[in-house]
Every structure is written in structure tokens, then in C-alpha cells.
């Protein structure tokens, strides 16, 4: 175990600013959406993805992947959204294990009511203060981070699987 590669003062400053900026942005958007539309940001994202799906229906698994959510989280979320009347669960005929999440009219209306305020919040807190050049840079940076982390998610899943198998082998 060698000495870790600590952050330089400069890196530390950047990291703390980035952390703070992201934290403030999240908090700002979360509060705006919660107060004005009565939903957390994750539910908003689910409504957006569902509204763009053909027929406004999606299999639970596909919806989980599209929103980078765990199956469990999605299941809980859809349960609550169904209670709100925004979504309807439907059985899958060809695979009896499966389930569809179907956006309802009320769900679409909730999204349409929430969208303008949310978009305005994103625009005014992120896009307005940045120059076009910075926006381009932010896009590049984000894409790079996604590329860096995507294989790592797969690796983590594989490791998880391996650990599980090792545990099971002992019995």
C-alpha cells in the first residue's frame, strides 16, 4: 500500500468548488420542483422519459436503465407515482414476469405543469451565467466523465457478481 496520490491545493480548490456548485444546483432544482410541482427531481425525470417513449409505455427494466436507476428504486417510485395517478402498471402478456409502466393523462398534465418552471430554473441557474464556450466545455467534460464511469459501473456489477458466487461456493 503506497502513499495515496493526494490532491494538490489547486485540485482541492477545484474539487471543492465543483462539489459546492453541484450541491447548490441540485438543492436549488430540487426545491423548485418540490415546491412548485410537488415532486422530486427523480420523478420528473421518470415522467420525461415515459412521455418520450412510443405509446408512453415502457417496460420497468428499460425505464430503470434509461434513468440509471436501480430496479428497487424504480419499483418504489412507480408505486408512489401510481398512487398519485400519474402512471399505471400493466401486465406483460408475452412475459408474465414483466410489467409495463404506462403514463396516464394526469401524469402527462403533471409533467406539462412542472416543465416550464423547471426548465426556467435550469436555464437561469446554469445556462444563463455561462458563456457559449463554457457550455460547450461543460458538455465535453461531462461526456468524458460519463465515458470514464460507464465501464466502471459494469466492472462494479461484475465484481458484485463474483463476490456473490464466491460466497455461495462456500455453502
Amino acid at each position: 500500500m503506497s502513499e495515496p496520490r493526494w490532491l494538490t491545493d489547486e485540485e482541492q480548490r477545484t474539487w471543492r468548488d465543483f462539489s459546492a456548485a453541484v450541491g447548490m444546483l441540485r438543492a436549488h432544482l430540487e426545491t423548485q420542483l418540490q415546491q412548485d410541482a410537488g415532486m422530486p427531481h427523480t420523478y420528473y425525470e421518470l415522467l420525461v422519459v415515459l412521455s418520450e417513449a412510443p405509446g408512453q409505455v415502457m417496460r420497468m427494466s428499460d425505464l430503470a436503465i434509461a434513468t440509471r436507476s436501480s430496479r428497487s428504486r424504480l419499483s418504489h417510485a412507480i408505486a408512489r407515482m401510481e398512487a398519485n395517478g400519474w402512471v399505471r402498471r400493466e401486465a406483460c402478456e408475452t412475459d408474465k414476469r414483466g410489467a409495463f409502466a404506462h403514463l396516464t393523462q394526469a401524469g402527462l398534465e403533471a409533467l406539462e405543469a412542472a416543465a416550464p418552471g423547471h426548465v426556467e430554473a435550469v436555464r437561469s441557474s446554469l445556462f444563463d451565467p455561462l458563456t457559449p464556450e463554457q457550455i460547450r466545455q461543460l458538455g465535453e467534460i461531462s461526456a468524458t466523465i460519463i465515458d470514464q464511469l460507464t465501464p466502471r459501473c459494469a466492472a462494479a456489477a461484475a465484481e458484485e457478481l463474483e463476490r456473490l458466487e464466491r460466497d455461495t461456493a462456500g455453502t
Copy 2:
């Protein structure tokens, strides 16, 4: 109420990538810290700030401000961290309402055990894939967002206050 300023396709792509990148980064760091050190990222931040304070003691309010946390969140967090033995609450002699949070030896050790893994995770997922130029850009962008959102927090607090007063006036 005029038509909202919707995002262009380009902006939308940038926003979704940024959202995804931040989400993946958060999830990655949260999981790493939770698995390797048994603490959420917010507790790690509290330990860091406390460890850098003179005497490793801070007033609750100051700690809340330094970590951009609500009083309530901090109070709950410190309660749990005290149960873990990482922190000790101490009374303030000069202001009987006040309380100090004092980092314990065990807390410092928990931080020292957690730090290398966390720093390595930050470095490998954020700093390694970015060029020095991009890191500089990210610092600039973050500072701009902070500047944009800081007055807005104050404004939100003022508005909240005003709302409270208006409600109270009615009684």
C-alpha cells in the same frame, strides 16, 4: 405568462450529459465511501471540515454554514456520528443555547482510514480523465455557478421569511 425559454437540442444534450455525469459521479463516490468506510459522503465532509478547524471543534451553526447544511440535517447527522463515537457534543459556556461539535480521536481515525480511498476515487474518476485545461475550465464554471446561486439562496431565505410574516399577520 409567456412561452417559457425552452432548451435547444444542443442545450438539452449538454444538460442531460451533465446530469448523467454528476449522477454517476455521485453514485460512484457514495458507494465507494459507504462500502469502504461505512459512512455517507455528507458525514465524510463533516469529518473533513471538523478536522481542519482549530482544536477540531466548531459551533453547530458554523459547521452547518461551512458544509452548506440545514441546522436540522446537521443535528440529525451529529447525533448519529456521536453514537458512532466520531464526535462529541459540548456545551457552550458563553451562550447557553449553543453547542460545539468536537471531533474525537476515533473520528479522526475514521477520517484517516477513509481518506485515501476517497481521494483515489475522486482522482481516478474526475481528474485523471480530464486534461489540465479542462480541469481549469471546470473550476471556472463551478465558480460561476456558485456566484450565480449564492445570492439566490439569500433571496430564497428572504422570501421564506416574508411568507412567514405574511402568514402570521393574518392571525
